[in-house]
């Protein structure tokens, strides 16, 4: 069978068209394919019969319109499954006033000047692009109205629009956007154009299908791992078998004899003394690289390498991050999980860094009638994006072309510029659809590695990580622990709250989050143990542990106080609202209470027909949004099973409701999976889980039967959704498991304790 993509590629002849198509094919997987459904393929032939590259009139950086009225909206932000490829263009379409069914959506080029920050992370895509995209759409509409007004010699106020048509009612004139596009494009972009009222939206807030849905279900080449380039070689890196080790020497003679192998080489990721930027990770700096024709051949040749590894010595790295320069100590000793746990227990007893203090917590604890103290812990987690790390690079002395999955190409470009000794304008990065990211793909090591390998072997190269490479490379969610303490007076009133959290190699504490602000005497402390195991952002960094621990603790505390867990939280929030303690409380008590009330109602929290479930509740605020979940556990084959979840979310205006529900459901499945099964352990520096046979991921049969998602309806500017639903699931699960088993769950992953319980 010949795919449409292949047909198109065969037909292309002119060089300009080829390069135009190349970029669009690579970045978005095809240009003229409409997205609304199976019958909606736009005629592909158009591309090969007209030279569209010259035809597009750029109205603003985000919008292009041809004179025969093809309207293209560029998605500026990297897509890793959060639906920005659909939902960001929806925002433009709303203000531009076009028929969504007729718009062509394409991945934009990497161009921070024209297309903004182009960064996927921190649940920020919608939040940071909300205004710029509305303004772009509104400005373009205004420019088109002006162009029509000039042509028709009428007042611009009298020119209206309707789904891509300009109308002057009085004179009965009308025309498509396309007719006025070139004239509009010649005009300057107006500033301060009035935006629509949220109430009058008709694209935003109504569900639209994933614009790449058809390409996904037919297996079109959307991902960088699918990308092919003329003369492209495959490279893989043999990294040390354990953290704390580095390359000593190697003998490649056998590997080089293997079929398809071109080269075996070693190179340094960063030069001696290199000052790292915030996302320049380097778990292993000395790279041993095998280059060959195909992935399978390179995989085989790697097995023939004879490598000697040696222990690293302790070192210091300077990282020039967003909050200035920090020095990071990298200890030499290979780490083992049992030893790490013992060390954490020891550190937890030592004095720690004070992060926030309200009132006099020491005195309150001293006079308490009752103290509840509980310790929680969680392991390293690997991101395990289904598409393993990979990147295409073609680097010459003059320029560099890089294509692949990355959450923040703009952060890596300065590094590439330094390392490759090329000015930024000579570096082109194309953003492919990512097979997951979850934070890992904000880091730059694999991009720089690919570029350096291509430069060294003087050929276009795709660097591919095997699943094992990917899982054992590091950049994990850190290992965390926290001890929570609450002091009650003789009447069971909460008089003091204390959290002391630590981790390897960072602490998890958000000192200004709930219940800070709701308790008179409050203390938050943090400590950290340096490590040679590297860490990185993982879906709601730190929050994903904090919420698990804190919301489990609040559940146990409510029980001790004889209160309903939802009512108890609402009481605290009332206090935080009416008479907040301290400054810098990060959350809005009303919105926090709002999701709790909504989930209480929607889950039928007090309804007798739900008595058959073991129910757990938890809520959390992070990344500017609010989430509350009720998890319903039943026994399935003798084991506790999360059958149902009810979820309430406040993230302001919801752009694409059905896609938003999908993401919340996904976050919940992810959270339930990691709570039960997630975890990476080490022995003498080596990861004990190297692939999915040992690293347990949640499977279809372990996912809930039902996840009901409810959004608080308001007109507040949208905030993020990728991360906020994730952290509180862990605690809701733990709290439901308690109801089911009579036992509290303090240590993730829970599966170990569930087993020992049954």
């Amino acid at each position: 069978m010949t795919t449409i993509k292949e047909l198109k590629m065969e037909k292309i002849t002119s060089p300009s068209r080829r390069s135009f198509l190349k970029s669009s094919v690579l970045a978005s997987g095809g240009l003229m394919i409409s997205f609304s459904g199976l019958a909606k393929f736009m005629p592909d032939d158009k591309i090969s019969t007209t030279n569209l590259a010259e035809q597009w009139n750029e109205i603003t950086g985000y919008i292009k319109i041809t004179s025969d009225n093809l309207i293209k909206i560029l998605n500026p932000n990297p897509e890793f499954g959060q639906n920005v490829m659909t939902s960001l263009p929806m925002i433009v379409a709303e203000e531009l006033d076009v028929d969504w069914q007729k718009v062509v959506i394409e991945m934009g080029p990497h161009d921070n000047v024209k297309l903004g920050p182009q960064f996927t992370g921190g649940s920020n895509s919608i939040r940071m692009y909300w205004k710029p995209l509305r303004e772009a759409g509104a400005a373009a509409r205004q420019m088109l109205r002006e162009a029509a007004a000039q042509t028709w010699a009428v007042s611009v106020e009298e020119v209206t629009t309707k789904a891509g048509i300009l109308i002057h009612e009085k004179s009965n004139k009308s025309g498509t956007y396309g007719e006025f596009a070139s004239k509009a494009a010649a005009n300057p972009i107006p500033k301060g154009v009035k935006l629509k009222e949220v109430k009058s939206f008709n694209t935003v807030r109504s569900s639209r299908k994933n614009v790449e849905g058809l390409k996904i279900v037919t297996g079109k080449p959307l991902f960088a791992l699918d990308y092919k380039h003329k003369g492209m070689l495959i490279a893989m890196i043999e990294h040390p078998p354990a953290f704390g080790k580095k390359l000593k020497s190697f003998d490649a003679s056998e590997a080089l004899k293997m079929p398809g192998i071109k080269d075996v080489l070693s190179l340094q990721l960063y030069p001696e003394g290199y000052e790292q930027a915030a996302f320049d990770t380097r778990t292993f700096n000395d790279l041993l690289v095998v280059v060959g024709n195909t992935t399978w051949e390179v995989m085989n040749a790697r097995k023939k390498l004879k490598v000697e590894w040696q222990p690293i010595s302790e070192s210091k790295e300077v990282v020039n991050g967003f909050r200035g320069k920090t020095e990071v100590v990298i200890p030499a000793e290979p780490e083992t999980t049992t030893t790490q746990l013992a060390k954490m227990a020891e550190y937890a007893k030592k004095p720690a860094q004070q992060l926030r203090k309200d009132g006099d917590p020491e005195a309150a604890f001293a006079k308490a009638a009752q103290i509840l103290e509980r310790t929680y812990s969680a392991p390293f987690l690997a991101h395990n994006c289904m598409e393993p790390m990979n990147f295409f690079a073609h680097v010459t002395d003059e320029k560099a072309l890089l294509i692949g999955p990355h959450q923040a190409p703009g952060w890596i470009e300065p590094t590439l510029s330094k390392i490759l000794n090329l000015p930024p304008e000579k570096i082109e990065i194309q953003m492919s659809r990512m097979g997951g990211g979850f934070g890992l793909r904000a880091y730059g090591h694999y991009v720089v590695e690919a570029a350096l390998i291509s430069k060294k072997v003087k050929a276009p190269v795709k660097l591919v990580y095997s699943r094992e490479d990917d899982m054992t490379y590091g950049i994990y969610r850190p290992m965390y622990t926290a001890t929570y303490r609450a002091a009650l007076d003789a009447n069971k009133n909460l008089i003091a709250f204390h959290v002391k959290g630590g981790g390897i190699p960072e602490h998890p504490i958000h000192a200004n989050r709930f219940p800070a602000g709701a308790v008179d005497n409050y203390l938050a402390e943090g400590w950290a143990i340096p490590s040679n195991i590297t860490i990185g952002a993982f879906r709601a960094p730190r929050s994903n542990f904090n919420a698990a621990a804190e919301q489990s603790f609040l559940d146990e505390l409510a029980e001790l106080m004889g209160k309903d867990p939802i009512d108890f939280r609402l009481e605290l929030l009332k206090r935080a609202k009416e008479n907040p303690v301290g400054k810098n409380n990060e959350y809005d008590a009303d919105r926090y209470a709002g999701v709790l009330k909504l989930v209480k109602e929607k889950s039928g929290w007090n309804n007798s027909e739900n008595k058959k479930y073991s129910r757990g509740v938890a809520a959390y605020f992070c990344h500017n949004s609010y989430a509350a979940h009720v998890v319903d556990v039943v026994k399935k084959e003798g084991q506790p099973y999360v059958e149902r979840v009810t979820s309430a979310i406040d993230c302001g205006v919801v752009i694409n409701p059905n896609a938003a529900i999908n993401m919340v459901q996904g976050a919940l499945v992810d959270g339930i999976g990691n709570a039960f099964y997630g975890g990476l352990t080490h022995k003498d520096g080596a990861s004990e889980q190297k692939n999915f046979n040992r690293y347990r991921m949640i499977r279809h049969k372990e996912a809930p039967q039902k996840i009901d998602v409810h959004f608080v309806e308001n007109d507040i500017d949208p905030t993020g959704l990728g991360e906020p639903p994730f952290p509180p699931v862990f605690a809701a699960v733990a709290n439901a498991l308690y109801k089911d088993t009579g036992k509290r769950f303090y240590t993730q992953p829970f599966v170990n304790e569930v087993k020992s319980n049954s």
């Binding site: 069978m1 795919t3 292949e6 199976l38 499954g81 959060q82 639906n83 299908k209 994933n210 790449e212 849905g213 058809l214 996904i216 279900v217 037919t218 297996g219 079109k220 080449p221 959307l222 991902f223 791992l225 699918d226 092919k228 079929p259 195909t294 992935t295 399978w296 995989m299 395990n384 994006c385 289904m386 598409e387 393993p388 659809r433 990512m434 097979g435 997951g436 990211g437 979850f438 699943r467 999908n662 993401m663 459901q665 996904g666 919940l668 499945v669 992810d670 692939n691 999915f692 046979n693 991921m697 949640i698 499977r699 279809h700 049969k701 372990e702 996912a703 809930p704 039967q705 996840i707």
Partner: protein, 152 residues
């Protein structure tokens, strides 16, 4: 190296290749059929699922020598225009998030419905539990399979 006659998506072709090469890499790197994905290489994730004589198999763990002259279907051959009932149901339910696992999920689901046109929830769960979705789209996958079953 040895020559193998392959019957893929109704097209007969010959590849000259190391007999141990997994079908996955033959598809992806020799025949440019990249809809079949690499996720783990050890038959644990299902991203590489194709049909061998109509049954769902993990192409990453199947040497090319074992599949010669047998009927193989990949996602590219499941339908001409993405209009297999399973693909249509996937679009109707807007299943995908990142999308990477979905061709494997679809191939497993299509094979299930072929042998069992009206699977129960438990049968769907059993059949689909070899396919990992890191984005957590399992609920929609199940709904889509039910929709596809009803359309058949």
């Amino acid at each position: 190296m040895a020559a193998f006659n392959l019957d893929i998506n109704g097209k007969k072709q010959t590849v000259d290749i190391d007999p141990k090469t997994p079908l996955l890499w033959v598809l992806r790197e020799h025949l440019n059929l990249i809809g079949t994905k690499y996720g783990c290489g050890v038959a644990q994730c299902g991203a590489c699922t194709v049909h061998l004589e109509g049954s769902a198999v993990r192409s990453c763990s199947l040497p090319v020598s074992a599949v010669a002259n047998k009927k193989i279907t990949t996602i590219e051959g499941l339908s001409a225009n993405g209009d297999h009932p399973v693909q249509k149901a996937w679009l109707e339910h807007d299943v995908a998030q990142c999308g990477y696992c979905q061709t494997g999920q679809i191939m497993t689901a299509a094979a299930l419905l072929k042998t069992n046109p009206n699977p129960s929830d438990a049968q769907i769960e059993a059949a689909m539990s070899g396919n990992i979705c890191r984005c957590g789209t399992y609920l929609r996958i199940k709904e889509a399979i039910k929709t596809a079953a009803n359309q058949k």
